[in-house]
């Protein structure tokens, strides 16, 4: 297959004398259906056909790891760190700081960087943009960040849950929609909560197709160590205003920044595919005119207003994806068929490697560390 790019789109990279550019895949003159960038282009085009321009903002969470005595990795030593921390106490060797510096140099647009809930965990929030541009930027940022950290002897891992006694790494996808006038179509000042019918249908679509989305947004056996109750991740089938234990969180502001944040995707997901999944599910909600359920009234930690949640494991998520024929048809049956083929074998390998899937739910197995940690 051919990988084509626009030479005028080459931008400064983070290696001396090297420019970077996003490539597009074709075969026999046709776009490759499995290619995530093509999947996202189709998802965006479907919204544009309805008169809306999707805007996306990406938030990454990642752990800094340092070498241990056994040729493996252990969490970054930062005993003085705390959530929303900055400075050397939170980043003693300046790893996250170096990532920020290089991002600035190569104009990968970060909106903020700070420590996350657990020691050695950082959050990198990128500026919002149109969907494809935002996904490209996020993809390049993650590649750069891992390169920069590794050059300095550290592993920056976006693995969903690399350390069992610490929280997981999300890939939060924030979406909004611009109408033909360039205004935020999620807003309705005349509604009780300021959200438009469109916004509510987008929320409803994401919740309705949540189980099918899971495989694409949380695509590894390790993902389901993060998607558990009490993990501040998108576990419950719920939404809420400024609710960080809801799968779809709506920020409190009612202006151009109003957005729907899907907290289910994790760092193992292909950014373009995860964004396409969110946009497709939201669009299906609009096309079907789904009613939005009431917002979450529980804390999402010990109580929730629903008993429905993400699939319990990757195997269940793959089955849910295959079963949701409307979602599959909308996002791309060719891509889904190939994805299911790959991931089904991955799940079989995991099951064979553990004595019991249920027993392994509360630990990170050697199989996960050897399969995922070097690559995610």
């Amino acid at each position: 297959m051919e990988c084509r790019f626009d030479p005028t789109a080459v931008r400064p990279g983070w290696e001396d004398g090297v420019g970077v550019v996003m490539g597009d895949l074709e075969r026999l003159g046709l776009t490759v259906p499995m290619a995530p960038r093509n999947v996202l282009k189709d998802a965006v085009a479907a919204w544009e056909a309805m008169g809306y321009t999707p805007q996306i903002g990406i938030e990454f969470e990642a752990y800094v790891m340092q070498p241990d005595a056994d040729d493996g990795w252990k969490p970054y030593h930062c005993p003085g760190s705390f959530i929303y921390g900055t400075g050397p106490l939170n980043d003693p060797a300046g790893v996250a700081d170096m990532v920020y510096r290089v991002a600035d140099e190569v104009e990968l647009r970060l909106e903020s960087v700070h420590t996350e809930f657990d020691a050695a965990q950082f959050e990198f929030t990128l500026e919002y943009d149109t969907a494809l541009a935002a996904a490209d930027e996020a993809f390049l940022f993650r590649t750069m960040a891992r390169d920069v950290a590794y050059e300095r002897g550290y592993l920056l891992t976006f693995m969903p849950r690399p350390i069992i006694d610490r929280g997981g790494n999300g890939l939060h996808v924030n979406m909004s929609l611009l109408d033909a006038d360039g205004d935020n179509a999620l807003l309705d000042p005349d509604s009780g909560d300021g959200l438009s019918t469109l916004a509510r249908q987008c929320i409803a679509g994401q919740l309705h197709h949540m189980s099918a989305m899971a495989a694409l947004c949380a695509p590894t056996a390790n993902s389901y160590k993060r998607l558990q109750p009490g993990q501040l991740s998108g576990y419950w089938k719920n939404w809420g205003p400024d609710h960080r234990c809801a799968t779809v969180r709506v920020n409190p502001e009612r202006d151009s920044s109003t957005r729907l944040e899907n907290r289910m995707p994790d760092g193992a997901a292909t950014v373009h595919t995860a964004v396409a999944a969110v946009l497709t599910a939201a669009r299906l909600g609009v096309e079907a005119g789904f009613e939005c359920p009431d917002p979450e009234t529980g804390d999402g930690l010990e109580t929730a207003c629903t008993e429905e949640h993400t699939p319990d494991d990757l195997g269940a998520a793959l089955a849910a994806l295959e079963a949701d024929t409307a979602f599959v048809e909308a996002i791309g049956p060719g891509m889904v068929a190939q994805f299911l083929a790959i991931k089904s074998v991955e799940w079989e390998k995991y099951v064979a490697a553990v004595d019991s899937v249920a027993e392994a739910r509360d630990r990170i197995t050697d199989w996960e560390n050897s399969t995922y940690l070097p690559y995610i």
């Binding site: 990988c3 080459v10 004398g17 090297v18 997901a269 373009h272 891509m335 068929a337 074998v345």
Partner: protein, 78 residues
């Protein structure tokens, strides 16, 4: 392209990996090629048979005009 001497073309695959190549600037307009079968790879490099529903398993057609002289005089390559 100023100080750029090499291009790192990148694209996301089905595993979230950043696939690509380094290319010299002088060959940028040609693009490059990859084996489509990499979409059958897992993290451990094992390959999974392509599902029946994937059209990318079809073989390309070729014409006599596409046969190029080989570096080995004993054979020809299409």
């Amino acid at each position: 392209m100023g100080d750029i001497r090499r291009i790192r073309v990148l694209w996301p695959d089905h595993l979230g990996l950043a696939r690509g190549k380094y290319l010299p600037v002088r060959l940028a307009e040609r693009g490059t090629r990859h084996a489509i079968t990499l979409f059958s790879l897992r993290y451990d490099r094992d390959m999974v048979p392509a599902p029946d529903r994937c059209s990318w398993t079809e073989c390309p057609t070729w014409s006599a005009g596409s046969i190029r002289p080989p570096s080995d005089p004993a054979g020809r390559t299409a």
